[in-house]
């Protein structure tokens, strides 16, 4: 499913630094196909250090989308640039708990460019002891509810969010139920006596 995998380091080509390191030469040799075909995604990948990408295709379709990994430090700058170069439709923001993997939490942003018919799913990872991702509400108004949902169900903090309260669960709920260490549980139901007679 993954047609291409590249890193921006490799995409930068054979710079002097990469040539100086012996093991980087092989990566540099891949630089010809390291940048994606899409101009917009290539612009994003070449603008930030540490972005990796992966082009996927949908099931039963020829259409593709691009998965990106973005360091959390570049999160807001990345989203702002993506919006400005054409990925101006906010589609989704999902949070995932990769329990027992580090960094533990993932936040995935799904953006769409209606003009060029391209989609990116950009994700970032944050550790368990500091589950903080800067808010995107200043970039996309639609991030508001989705970040509240991620806070409510996974427990990721979004500093700068205008109203970071629980959205689906009651305000006095304890814990974040979509974390993997939150038991599925059940409300005990007290059945009426009398079945022994039957």
């Amino acid at each position: 499913m993954s047609d291409q995998v590249g890193t921006p380091d490799a995409a930068d080509g054979l710079t002097e630094e990469s040539l100086a390191e012996g093991d980087a030469v092989s990566e540099g040799a891949m630089s010809e196909r390291a940048l994606p075909d899409s101009e917009l995604v290539a612009q994003l990948v070449s603008s930030f250090e540490g972005i990796t990408y992966d082009i996927r295709s949908y099931a039963s379709s020829d259409a593709t989308y691009t998965m990106l990994y973005v360091p959390v430090a570049d999160w807001v700058a990345f989203a702002t640039m993506a919006r400005d170069i054409g990925f101006d439709t906010f589609i989704d923001l999902a949070a995932v708990d990769h329990f027992r993997d580090a960094p533990r939490f993932e936040v995935a942003l799904n953006l769409l460019s209606m003009d060029t018919n391209e989609r990116i799913v950009a994700s970032t990872r944050v550790p368990y002891d500091h589950p903080v991702v800067p808010t995107l509400t200043g970039v996309f108004a639609g991030a508001n509810f989705y970040e509240r949902e991620a806070y409510d169900l996974i427990g990721i903090e979004f500093p700068g969010h205008p109203d970071l309260t629980r959205i689906l669960l009651p305000d006095d709920w304890e814990g974040h139920p979509l974390r993997k260490d939150f038991a599925v549980g059940a409300i005990p139901v007290e059945f009426k006596a009398g079945s022994s007679d039957l």
């Binding site: 039963s60 906010f90 589609i91 599925v184």
Partner: protein
Amino acid sequence: MTDVHDTSDIDAGEDVLEEDAADGRDPENGQDAENGQDQANGEDTASVETERRHLHEVWVSGTEERFPFSAATNEGAQELLPREEDPALAIQAGVAVEDDYVTEPEVSDEERQIINMGPQHPSTHGVLRLQMELEGETIRRVKPIVGYLHTGMEKTAEVLNYAQGSTNVTRMDYLAPFHNELVYSLTVEQLLGIDVPERANAIRVLMTELNRVSSHLLWAATMGMDIGALSMMIYGWREREVCLDFFEKTTGLRMNHNYIRPGGVAADLPDGWEDDVDNLIDVVNEGVSEYEELLNENPIFLDRTMGVGVITPEECKQYGVTGPIARASGLAWDLRKAAPYSGIDQYEFDVPTGLHGDVHDRYLVRIAEIRESLRIVAQVKESMPRGDYRNPDPKVTPPPRKRIDESMEALIHHFKLFTEGIVVPPGTAYQSVEGPRGELGCYLVSKGGARPWRMHWRAPSFAAVQALPAMMTDSLVADVVAALASADPVLGDVDR
């Protein structure tokens, strides 16, 4: 005193008001139509009339200093209000409603009130609560409050295996169960890297497009009821019933079908399905024509929908609003064209768009979409391929019962599929389809094994509810119901 004077002018009508003011500036030479007639009758009448007019004109704006006795009562400027700001005139012309809540630039806290609409309000189509800050009849701020129907279905999905998953997701957006099942199945198939046979694709397109029809029919029915066209509700339900009958015949259930599954569909189409589809297309097309006859030129319906609940294309993009709402705002975006799934690109259909982004354009777009979906259904019916309706991969599809008696392999596969389930390789996938309410997406994380690690649901209604303040702010409270109905949120989809 000014008020009294205003009223008398208004009673005399707008033309007289202007002429009075003109006469006031030049009372000796001023002649209006009435006065001209009076003068023709004789001098006595004329002098009485002049006297009366002098008394009358004492209060006309800008004329006070011309009369000796006006100086004694001069209290400063006694200007008439500019006509467009005159509340009494506005009331008379019918552009303002006379009540206790005439909006003023500075509204004190006593006149500002917070009203909760829902969660038990019938027009909220579920358990949506809107907290509205009103200044008189005008909404200044809206806050949608959701979560009353939250049942933790994304958590439930993590304890069900992939074969059981579609029973769960079909209950999320209960008006578009086939779309839910389809996007879930496509996501799992994307991770598995498998395709489904052509016949399965055609059946999936057939069922999802019929589902779009039934969902839009229900929307037309409830929107009509919300706006006051009560008979619309009965008609919408009447045609939807034909769709649900076909669903029941095909899947066994009217809702929550669990029909589209990873690897294909659960069963082949029933005998005689072509006749049922033919009948359905005729009945629904005829019904939709009746709706148009009922509503399209209905002045009350037009007044309540045109220019109401407007949302711009830019706001749609910012809030992630897709589907008929975005198309009514002029965004020609349809995933069936942009990222066609299940071979839907081989059928001919158009994407209707609106211009104004108001409730009325959403109505037109949805009605047009019903017809387009029926066009697709007719084409699917003509070109339905023969063959299997499930992927033959034994790791995904259980073997037929007969094979279990004959083959050890089949027995093992059957046992593994029904004890462990479909094993999906690790990975992350996103897939989306064009649901009746917009982009319906599934973000699925697998760590290997037979159960999803995490399933995030991109619900179109969630984005639509979030965009409600953009539609409702600074509109009248009476338009809330129309705007809400046009957004078509399904709370099962919002809260999941």
